[in-house]
Symmetry: C2
Subunit: 247 residues, 2 copies
């Protein structure tokens, strides 16, 4: 037996998220496609674990997955072999051995998500699958200020969609920043963990700040409220990408 860790990218547009939907087994998921490709390659039914269970429409540049196999295929052959089997919207970019106790999710120290906004008169046809287009001019200076207020240890109950069954809402955001480059406004957020829809709810509030619908000072108030109703709308999934996982 060997335990293998893969780094994969996917365009989430045509997937119903990472995780196999037991209630809708026919819906296309990244996990199902990867497990199917591994079955073709190794002849085994392999269950894989991912660092982050991304939602429908969310992309990944540096998703980490792991699995154990009895196959003797050399570890460095996996990327090219799997890419030959997988559809174009999933690409395996790295493979390495890990100890058998490695767990792609439990062992995560931090993850970085990026939420991309294009603030321009018209969308760009070549990035519209990966960025959220906003036509109204954003006050990016206000967004930069507001983003900083998320950094630190907080109870993020106000930023968790219902349907979650976590025990604690405490998370530590190491870095939360807004980067402006021409018409692109990018939210980059690194934390030791994320609650359900947390980045998209934070992005939604920062957009409201950028549209001057609320002041940056609102962020502290919303965090302290510990109530989902205190926060605003959830930004759409297609702007979100799981960028990097740290162990």
């Amino acid at each position: 037996m060997q335990t293998i860790k893969l780094t994969i990218q996917y365009d989430g547009t045509d997937f119903n998220g990472w995780q196999i939907q037991t209630k809708q087994p026919s819906s296309r998921t990244v996990q199902f496609e990867v497990e199917k490709a591994l079955a073709v390659l190794t002849g085994e039914m392999i269950k894989v674990t991912a660092a982050g269970r991304t939602d429908a429409g969310v992309h990944a540049r540096g998703q980490i997955i792991s699995f154990s196999t009895g196959s003797s295929i050399p570890v460095d052959r996996y990327p090219a072999a799997l890419n030959g089997i997988l559809a174009n919207d999933i690409v395996v970019v790295n493979s390495e051995h890990v100890t058998e106790d490695f767990h792609a999710r439990y062992w995560v120290k931090e993850k970085t998500y990026v939420y991309r906004i294009m603030n321009s008169k018209f969308p760009d046809v070549f990035n519209q699958r990966y960025v959220y287009h906003i036509r109204s001019k954003l006050d990016v200076g206000q967004m930069v200020l507001a983003a900083r207020a998320f950094e630190g240890n907080h109870d993020f109950s106000s930023f968790c969609a219902s349907g979650s069954s976590v025990k604690s809402f405490d998370r530590r955001i190491t870095s939360c920043k807004i980067i402006e480059e021409k018409e692109m406004v990018t939210l980059e957020i690194t934390a030791d963990g994320f609650l359900y829809n947390m980045v998209r709810i934070i992005a939604g509030i920062l957009i409201e700040v950028g549209l001057r619908k609320r002041p940056p000072a609102d962020i502290d108030r919303i965090i302290k409220a510990k109530d989902r109703k205190a926060a605003g709308h959830t930004a759409p999934p297609h702007g979100l990408t799981l960028e990097k996982v740290y162990y």
Copy 2:
């Protein structure tokens, strides 16, 4: 009546090219989608003319189209109104009045096409619809040298796919250059006109030069041969974008 010129972008992936296919009217074309949207907007059956009739799978960032209409809708309303009707893979980014004798194709002075190659171990899932991925290391220095040999006035018979009914194969390439930026190798080519598949045949030969399958000196020989069989394979359509049209 007013004559209107629009600048449009499209992701060519899911289109059977620009032009309505009279033999396959049900196949999805950019022209059909634009004419359908104009019919919804104006209530008229409008025929549009494009600067370049791009092939199946080829993209456009600055395609120019023109048409005449009896509608009194103000010209500056067209982009937002059409974008509201069109699918996401076509975006209208500009509109302006032109004189009624304007012709989007006959009046073209020059056009710039770009052919994008990603030279890396693995494809990038976020640009694979728009770039041609080549795994083997390219000798870009040789490609830069070879590209220059295409510049000038030449009979480009060797670079025209069969099925074309043009009278003259003479074209003037004002600029033909290879630009390298990290893993991206981009061919940018500006000419007063292009023969059928000309850019993709040129890209195919430059790739052969990059792979050291032929020396840069071959270009002059192939041009002089005036024979399609002298040139090599045709690079795939998805790397090609009609970038800009000059009048």
